[in-house]
Symmetry: C2
């Protein structure tokens, strides 16, 4: 891939660089932290209950899962739906807006798989 630094003036280059950094930082602002991305990836596989999500993400405690889910809900990535059955069934699901994150999920997943292979080979 062509390096940006080879085709742009130094000044333009820095401006571009900051723009990128700010975009990435804004993305990380809402997706940052240890658990948000893993939680979203789990929910990508369909609506799931609290305990289901907890089981898929080994290591997370209910306290943290609860907190992260609330933040994701506030940021419009997740919906908490209560099914009025008996007993009540509570499911978390991705919002329409969250589907815009698929590119990020895919990139992280693909790289993670490559990286796992690399680490094993060392």
């Amino acid at each position: 891939m062509e390096k940006l630094s080879e085709r742009l003036s130094p000044e333009h280059n820095k401006t571009e660089c900051r723009r990128s950094v700010n975009a990435v930082r804004d993305a990380l602002y809402v997706l940052g932290g240890k658990w948000k991305l893993p939680i979203l990836v789990v929910l990508e596989y369909g609506p799931q209950r609290f305990t289901e999500v907890q089981r898929q993400i080994e290591g997370i405690t209910p306290k943290l899962l609860s907190k992260e889910l609330k933040e994701l809900e506030m940021n419009g990535f997740v919906t908490r739906r209560v099914q009025p059955t008996t007993p009540v069934l509570i499911e978390y699901e991705l919002t329409e807006y969250a589907t815009s994150l698929q590119g990020i999920f895919a990139a992280l997943r693909d790289w993670g798989i490559q990286h796992q292979a690399r680490v094993r080979s060392l």
Copy 2:
């Protein structure tokens, strides 16, 4: 895009889900924290000195920058090069392996830009 949950059995689905979560988690393990990705994005624009990097990432302190750079170096993403000029010139640059992260950078940057536009429109 087709939903994974619509074409796979529930069991296979869960296995796949965990695989994805683990891949993402392993990626986040080396890229996690508040500053690693921003630092790598800056260095994508060419080798740069400590202070240069610091200026591009507003808010980072030298302590954190130093710590993060060391970790990135240990993980094989960054090289610290000392030019034997007078005075000495120290530059940080991405390694070959770090270029495998371009997909992640691009995904985060693109989404971040979209997200900025969305936030502004609210």
